[in-house]
């Protein structure tokens, strides 16, 4: 979508550098091993056993049912190193502060943010619709009089307007200030209102699988077990726990190297990116279907009917992604209670994936 905009190249070296880490942990580099230099052996051996990934713990606060990261550097890191979280006042990356500074005339004009580009495109679209409406009104008038419409030139002009590409180079940003904005400014400085919110599955992955975060609730830091308890809820763990099912799938894809993010805007559970939202479009959309070997009622409740499937598959088709139905088989309660730890619990679940794709016989004849 965005790559039709002139003057923007996703594959610039700046991008490569900014997003060089896949996760907020980094692989280590071992020193060079030179066969004829014994010193390098010693250094190598030392490094082999001591070196690791650089980790600065990221601080997450749990309040009002939200997992919040508010330090700008940590927000940046979570975004750039694996695309975790979402700015609450942004489409994805937390860019509200920059955007608002510019809107209020506080900052310098840099690149347009994704939100601004979207707004501009919608503006252009409105112009086109207005012109088309005019044309159609004229046509309708003639039709009533029983004439065939002669507006060939006008039609072309309207079409041009429709197909016009945005050229962001020449666009000047206009400031737009409302009464409400006064509460954002303290001594002429913009309050950093935006924070990043993480999904429960993201938080648990960062803690349980990567160990790069510290989650605090009411001032105290939660252990992995306490966090697990918080996320799976009170009242005893059951095999059909919604968080568990979501997490199994999230972990399954994240640990396979996919960048997994929420798929809600397309009516699915997850989107899988080869890298992440600013670099590649999502390739797969995941719909999770919990299932059981023994509980047929559970299967019936969780199954999707073909009208729902058809809806989702069309939406996913419209945005040129592939729909994956990820079935998760839940274990028996007996096995669940026997499990020793969280890892044991998670490994009781089974997964199977099916690609669900509209098939057009007419186009599959040879």
């Amino acid at each position: 979508m965005t790559n039709i905009i002139k003057g923007m190249s996703k594959r610039s070296s700046h991008f490569k550098d900014l997003y060089k880490w896949l996760l907020p942990i980094h692989p280590v580099t071992l020193p060079e091993l030179i066969p004829h230099n014994p010193l390098s052996w010693i250094y190598f051996t030392y490094a082999y056993f001591t070196s690791t990934v650089s980790i600065n713990t990221i601080h997450i606060t749990y309040k009002d049912g939200m997992f919040v990261v508010s330090a700008p550097a940590e927000m940046k890191r979570l975004w750039c190193e694996g695309f975790f979280g979402k700015g609450v006042l942004s489409r994805s990356e937390a860019t509200w502060f920059d955007r608002t500074s510019k809107r209020l005339g506080l900052g310098e004009f840099k690149n347009l943010t994704r939100e601004e580009i979207t707004a501009l495109r919608r503006e252009e679209r409105k112009k086109f619709k207005k012109e088309r409406a005019k044309l159609e009104a004229m046509q309708a008038e003639l039709k009533k009089q029983g004439k065939v419409d002669p507006f060939v030139e006008e039609k072309l002009r309207v079409r041009e307007l429709r197909d016009k590409e945005l050229d962001v180079k020449d666009i000047k940003r206009e400031t737009y200030i409302r009464e409400e904005d006064s509460e954002l400014l303290i001594d002429g400085k913009l309050t950093p209102l935006e924070f990043m919110e993480l999904q429960p599955v993201e938080v648990f992955f960062l803690q349980f699988a990567l160990g790069v975060v510290e989650v605090s609730k009411d001032g105290s830091v939660l252990s992995t077990e306490e966090l697990f308890q918080l996320l799976t809820g009170d009242g005893g763990l059951t095999p059909s726990n919604p968080f568990l099912i979501q997490y199994i799938v999230y972990h399954y894809y994240r640990s396979s190297g996919w960048c997994a993010r929420s798929g809600v805007k397309f009516g699915t559970d997850l989107l899988l990116y080869k890298r992440g939202p600013p670099l590649t479009h999502a390739e797969f959309a995941i719909s999770i279907i919990p299932t059981s070997q023994t509980d047929m009622k559970f299967n019936e409740e969780n199954a999707m009917n073909f009208i729902e499937l058809s809806t989702i598959s069309r939406i996913i088709g419209q945005v040129r992604k592939k729909l994956i139905l990820t079935f998760v088989e839940i274990p028996s309660l007996e096995n669940l209670t026997k499990a020793k730890d969280i890892k044991d619990i998670l490994e009781l679940y089974k997964v199977q994936e099916f690609m669900y794709r509209r098939f057009v016989p007419n186009r599959n004849r040879d």
Partner: protein, 131 residues
């Protein structure tokens, strides 16, 4: 997440992401709504269901004067249940509160990743937009 957080998150999103003005909370018997003015007027629909012919004169007057009409947003979490009965109740309470017929409520649906999507819910059948 409690209701206040939900409402305040949607309110903040309307105010500082979508740049709506003049946002106030409306508390009916069982629901909280947000009322405000968008930066630009939202596309107007023509209603064709005969049961919803009584569009509020207040709104029409505003439109005639070229003003941006107030919109009503109902904040709701993605994992909450919503039945036709609930929607009926939303319109009913809002109409009782306002004292006139409500044509449209915007559902502000909040996901657990803080994404908020807005969908119009009309009372009755409407014609699609001419894209």
């Amino acid at each position: 997440m409690n209701k206040e957080t939900l409402v305040s998150q949607v309110k903040q999103n309307l105010s500082f992401y979508n740049l709506w003005s003049d946002i106030t909370e409306i508390q009916t018997t069982s629901f909280t709504f947000l009322q405000g003015k968008p930066k630009d007027p939202l596309t107007v629909q023509s209603t064709i269901d005969s049961t919803t012919d009584g569009i509020s004169s207040e709104l029409t007057k505003e439109q005639e004067q070229g003003q941006i009409p107030y919109e009503l947003v109902y904040p709701i979490r993605l994992d909450s249940k919503l039945s036709p009965r609930d929607i009926h109740q939303l319109f009913k309470e809002l109409e009782d509160f306002k004292g006139f017929k409500i044509e449209k409520i915007i559902a502000g649906i909040l996901n657990d990743d803080s994404t908020i999507v807005y969908y119009n819910i009309y009372n009755g059948l409407v014609k699609p937009r001419r894209n």
